[in-house]
Subunit: 227 residues, 2 copies
């Protein structure tokens, strides 16, 4: 998988956070997400022991490989290498991207969180394959502080400034997903809007359809659409 | 450093746990431990973020390299690789030793915790370079449950059964360190007995002297001494 290539084709990026998942496991979330057409799965668990995370990651590796989609591990480079994951996603409390790039090599995916334009530019300069941009809207998920919501204008700014794909995250829902794509994101990521759904597969499918429809309307993938 | 080789020369193995350390940092513990003659430093922190742990590990890597002693990272393989540590120590909640061996290669150290003879044999069969055996005595450290103390008889059994070095841990103090060495351990590790000391350097030096003295008395390194 060429660096920076794969992310351009992602529509829906599912993060298997179990805290909001109504008792469902990482495996259950991933299975349903794949059934609904998820383009990439990120395993995220800040509480699990390394042993537990490794065992879950092995199962998700098998599932995603059978589905032909990438598996990305949040934060934990050793786990990612151990299960031959496709990449790692790095937040601000994780290892620096340039250090992780050396460990993963050029052919794995390194995604980096950014909350503003400066961080997004740093992520690209640091060799990130995509930027996880947000929180775009007020969110019930990872960072519930509404004052931090960046809004769509940041998506437009980052789209103008960066070459790497934008994975928009934070409060993205079926109601606003079209606006996020029209602002220039290639991919939408959601935690609460997906893992809290009674039918995760159906919800992922709806997200994928909304992204697809919005992309057609704004002549993606250039991101310079009619909006 | 040849696999399994280095550990045979360790006397005192210092674990930089900060929880019991009276407010002292990993760096402060490591600096004093090195000053007192520690033979190996293990960085252990289950609470820190990956970013924090990486930054601390970088500083400990520099300090241990200048001192010419190995740095071992508890649990976190990605951090160990990122800072070019000498090895990783694995507890029961960490990744399996054979998986970690593949990631670290033959020339780095893999240490594995064992609480009984079966686990010690498994550790050796799994490619461990040393076994961290214990808790030998009732401990105020990692696992304060006194019913789990294994006693010196386990050290003797493991010494008979294994070829790799024994790093004895758990309740090891200046009062009992000679008995641990005489039972067959090559190395003593301590958390509370070292990091709670007012003068860590002095305490490490005392441990090293006690180990040296006990080794002379029981004709180590064979471990089959006069006891």
């Amino acid at each position: 998988m060429a660096r920076g290539h794969c992310a351009q084709h992602w529509r829906v990026y599912v993060i298997t956070d179990v805290i909001l998942a109504r008792g469902r496991t990482h495996e259950e979330i991933a299975r349903e997400a794949i059934r609904g057409g998820a383009d990439v799965i990120q395993l995220r668990d800040k509480q699990a022991s390394s042993r537990e995370l490794y065992q879950v990651a092995l199962r998700l590796r098998q599932m995603t490989r059978e589905a032909g989609i990438p598996l990305i591990i949040n934060d934990r480079v050793g786990i990612a290498l151990a299960v031959d994951a496709d990449g790692v996603h790095l937040g601000p409390e994780d290892m620096p991207a340039d250090v992780v790039r050396k460990l993963l090599g050029p052919n794995r995916i390194v995604g980096v969180t950014a909350t503003n334009l400066e961080q997004a530019l740093q992520a690209q300069q640091g060799g990130a394959d995509y930027v996880g941009l947000g929180p775009i809207f007020e969110s019930r998920g990872l960072d519930p502080d509404p004052t931090k919501a960046t809004g769509l204008e940041l998506v437009r700014q980052v789209r103008q400034a960066l070459n790497i794909p934008i994975v928009a995250i934070g409060g993205v829902s079926l109601n606003n997903v079209a606006s996020v794509i029209q602002a220039g994101a290639q991919t939408v990521a959601a935690i609460s809007a997906i893992v809290t759904a009674a039918d995760i597969a159906e919800r992922v499918q709806e997200f994928a359809q909304h992204v697809q429809s919005a992309m057609t309307n704004c002549q993606h993938p250039s991101g310079e659409g009619s909006s």
